[in-house]
Symmetry: C2
DNA sequence: ACCTGAACACCGTTCAAGT
DNA sequence: ACCTGAACACCGTTCAAGT
């Protein structure tokens, strides 16, 4: 980012000391590369080249590419803003946290796609997980629902971010969808034909906000999970919910 | 599948007529390969080798790998069962359709992951899309909500399927998560510590069923999307909803 | 029109050899 | 302990040459 557009590599003679390689700089370099080039531009060989070394050197600090992805994701998640305890109504804090999560994934191109195939398990992820559990509990969500819900919330936020990144990044894919929808006949698919505009309207912001509302409402609202047929008695602190049906 | 464990390639001499290659057989072969080897085992070169030809030959029938993925996904989605019109309460038909969608993605290993980076746009996808729109409309869901909702529902089902495939396929990833959760201290992350078991309990079936309920409830229930600040008047056929707030 | 081999520009990962 | 070049076994895609 601070190098501008030129990124010629420093010549490899005349530097006997070598840059002090470390797990940290490898991860940072990889994240910068991801930011600059997208997920398809990220490779161990490129990271190594940026650090002016060979790919083999990275294996001192990493088990494999998967581990690098995992480390990158957790590092990036460090930027997620954790709302201060009791700073507002729990539901607003939950939304704020998820929105921050979404933004972090969405702002760095390629990160959301990376996150879709990397279950987060680092310290930053754990901090977020802990806070999500706390918020759902504060909201009176029953235990099992809270555990499953946290998983669902993160998966869901990640998926929305990944989809929007995909739309933004590869216009090719979107153009194919547009073409497919435009070619639809009113006779064969009357509803698609009628809803064309609404289906294509990206309008990311509103749409993601709405999507978040949908999932929060779903988890906080009705629908108690049943581990075994008769287990509904164990719910605790059930507040509003209990829809008519 | 019918070849058992041996898959030696038929020698390329003594066959001047050559198998009649076509887009269809390429897609079928690719799907079989995906089934057998998973997404990481799928490559144009392998598909070509299975067809006893070179990778370059496939480019007569495909623009590139992306298009193959797209065709594979749509072909597979042909197996999704479309519920008969008015055969039951709309909501049950919606659930049945989504469940079938989920099962198709979930049963063929690798397909769900493929679907996460491939926006479906083929004829089978369109049929499903049309039916989803119809079901939501039958349920009295407002237009914009229906359009966004369909997108959300498919994205969501795909994401759940992809996550579960990931869990099943690469035990390595899951083991890392388990290790991370097990190592958590009760002092630093009391809630994670307490919820450990619930967080790890896969129990795919119940969990996915619950997840589907959550999203349907969220979309069908409250939360009208607002394109511009004042636009809520345009809703039509709004049925139950309108929560107190 | 379809097929092919060879080439191009890449991958992740391993390993023996160096410091 | 760390780094390195070279090798291994792969990729997707292009292209000139064949039928």
């Amino acid at each position: 980012m601070n190098k501008g557009t030129t990124h010629e590599i420093v010549s490899r003679r005349s530097r006997p000391a070598k840059a002090p390689l470390s797990r940290d700089v490898v991860v940072s370099t990889a994240l910068e590369l991801l930011e600059r080039e997208g997920l398809s531009g990220l490779s161990l060989r490129r990271v190594a080249a940026t650090l002016d070394t060979g790919a083999a050197s990275l294996y001192v600090y990493l088990a494999n590419l998967d581990e690098l992805h995992s480390l990158m994701l957790d590092r990036a998640l460090g930027a997620v803003k954790l709302p201060k305890a009791r700073s507002s109504f729990w539901r607003d804090r939950l939304k704020a946290l998820l929105l921050s999560y979404f933004r972090v994934l969405h702002e760095h191109q390629g990160l959301a796609q990376l996150a879709m195939s990397t279950i987060p398990s680092g310290p930053n992820s754990l901090r977020i997980l802990e806070m999500l559990l706390g918020l759902l509990r504060e909201g009176g969500v029953e235990d099992v629902k809270a555990a499953w819900g946290v998983d669902l919330l993160t998966l869901y936020v990640t998926a929305i971010a990944a989809e929007q990144s995909l739309r933004r990044e590869s216009g090719q894919v979107l153009r194919r969808v547009e073409a497919a929808l435009s070619a639809v006949s009113a006779e064969e698919f009357p509803l698609i034909f009628a809803f064309k505009k609404a289906l294509l309207s990206g309008e990311g912001k509103n749409r993601s906000a709405w999507a978040l509302d949908v999932i929060i409402e779903g988890i906080v609202g009705g629908s108690v999970p049943h581990r075994s047929p008769r287990d509904t008695s164990r719910s605790r602190r059930v507040g509003s919910s209990q829809r008519k049906k």
